[in-house]
């Protein structure tokens, strides 16, 4: 099941997308300060996520969906999609991190914790957009609809992530708050998986 969802050409497409996005950013501002660096990192992360994950449902043809319908249950299908997109976003986040810090300089004090936060954030974004892509694939004008549906939902998480990633720049928080936020983000991810498993069977029947 997992192997079937892999499509080589989109993978390279997204890698190229990362490289060119960062290159555009690199050409427009040279060496930003820490806050800007953080903000732009998360914006690129968001757009990569939309492009990478949107593909997972929007590119499936009707016939192929019908084929999946006959061979698996909806729960198995959505779980494998979630898992695949999760892995995809982990890979993409790390690629993004590496290319980004190579080109734009690296103002973080603790790069390791920033990496962890980046990957955690990537997972969260990937999970939300998987479900939204499933919803949007049922409607017309899918690509733009996905942005409309997704942005308000993703903003709170993004705010938390940006705030949390400031720990990596050495900003001092009250004791325990970074840990609380991380816990919150992880619990959101779990909540999303549960919701997806409950709700997807209703989208599945066509």
């Amino acid at each position: 099941m997992l192997l079937e969802t892999r499509q080589q050409h989109t993978l390279y497409g997204i890698l190229l997308y990362i490289a060119s996005t960062i290159f555009v950013v690199y050409l427009t501002i040279d060496l930003p300060d820490a806050d800007t660096w953080n903000a732009i990192f998360w914006i690129t992360q968001l757009f990569i996520c939309i492009n990478a994950v949107a593909k997972s449902f929007l590119q499936e043809s009707r016939g192929r969906m019908l084929y999946y319908f006959t061979i698996t249950s909806p729960v198995a299908f959505i779980l494998s999609k979630l898992l695949y997109n999760l892995l995809l976003m982990v890979v993409m986040s790390s690629v993004n991190l590496i290319v980004y810090s190579a080109m734009m300089g690296n103002p973080t004090i603790s790069f390791f914790s920033f990496c962890l936060i980046g990957i955690l954030g990537g997972c969260g974004l990937g999970l939300i957009f998987t479900m939204l892509a499933a919803i949007a694939s049922k409607a017309m004008q899918q690509a733009s609809l996905m942005a409309i549906l997704g942005f308000p939902l993703i903003l709170p998480q993004l705010m938390m992530l940006v705030r949390l990633s400031k720990t990596a720049f050495g900003e001092i928080f009250n004791n325990g708050i970074p840990f609380q936020m991380t816990l919150l983000l992880v619990s959101f991810d779990i909540l999303m998986i549960i919701l997806a498993v409950i709700l997807f069977p209703f989208l599945w029947k066509d």
Binding site: I148, L149, L199
Partner: protein, 232 residues
């Protein structure tokens, strides 16, 4: 016109909220002054908005369970009235903020940028955006059954994602908006006893009014559907 008990209750409570809200004594605070009376209207709007959205979710869940089309109409109508109350909440809040937060030395638009960064305002804006997206999603699907199903799924998903963040995030970020610690306005120590006797009836009154408006919308739509199916 038939008036059931809760409609009469709504009228009485709202009359009480308007008259009592403007005339009964309020605690004197130097910063707020008499603008504190806006609490009876501004906060109530948000309360009834959340209650209506919650009713909308319940109908979405019912729709997914029963596939009865009436629940879809109900979910849509409650969400619509909720958005309307949210807009009213925004405008009352804006009037309030222009007297208490805005810097009189700057023009209004200069204060706007900093006021919009308030976590509560962000949360409210997100709620309205999400429900705006809900209506766009509805409009972009032609098939009636599929529209009902997909929008019910989005409604539940969005609600489950959105509301925890609205309740949690303001507690993590710095804010001028009152009600940062604990549940705003539900905490008994927050409000003066003199205000409580108006505030709680006002919440119930506004919510009932919202439900009433929604009932009219639902009946109108059901009639329209009937007319449409008779013509065919």
């Amino acid at each position: 016109m038939r008036l059931t008990w809760w409609k009469i209750l709504s009228i009485i409570l709202l009359l009480y909220a308007v008259v009592g809200g403007l005339l009964l004594p309020v605690p004197e605070l130097s910063q707020l002054g008499e603008t504190i009376r806006n609490l009876y209207y501004h906060v109530c709007m948000w309360f009834s908005m959340m209650i209506l959205f919650t009713i909308s979710i319940i109908h979405s869940i019912k729709y997914l369970n029963t596939k009865n089309y009436i629940h879809d109409i109900k979910a849509k109508s409650y969400a619509g009235t909720g958005v309307f109350l949210g807009l009213l909440g925004y405008s009352t809040g804006a009037i309030w903020a222009s007297y208490t937060w805005a810097d009189p030395n700057n023009p209004a638009y200069a204060s706007f940028g900093s006021i919009m960064r308030e976590p509560k305002l962000i949360g409210a804006a997100l709620a309205l955006l999400v429900y705006g997206a809900y209506f766009i999603l509805r409009n972009s699907i032609i098939d009636i059954d599929q529209r009902a199903r997909v929008s019910a799924v989005y409604n539940i998903f969005a609600y489950a994602m959105l509301f925890p963040t609205i309740w949690i995030i303001p507690r993590l970020l710095p804010s001028l908006h009152p009600g940062k610690e604990g549940n705003p306005a539900l905490n008994f120590n927050d409000i003066d006893a003199r205000m409580r006797i108006v505030f709680y009836p006002a919440v119930i009154g506004w919510t009932l009014l919202g439900v009433w408006i929604t009932h009219l919308k639902i009946r109108l739509q059901v009639l329209n559907e009937k007319k449409f199916s008779n013509e065919q």
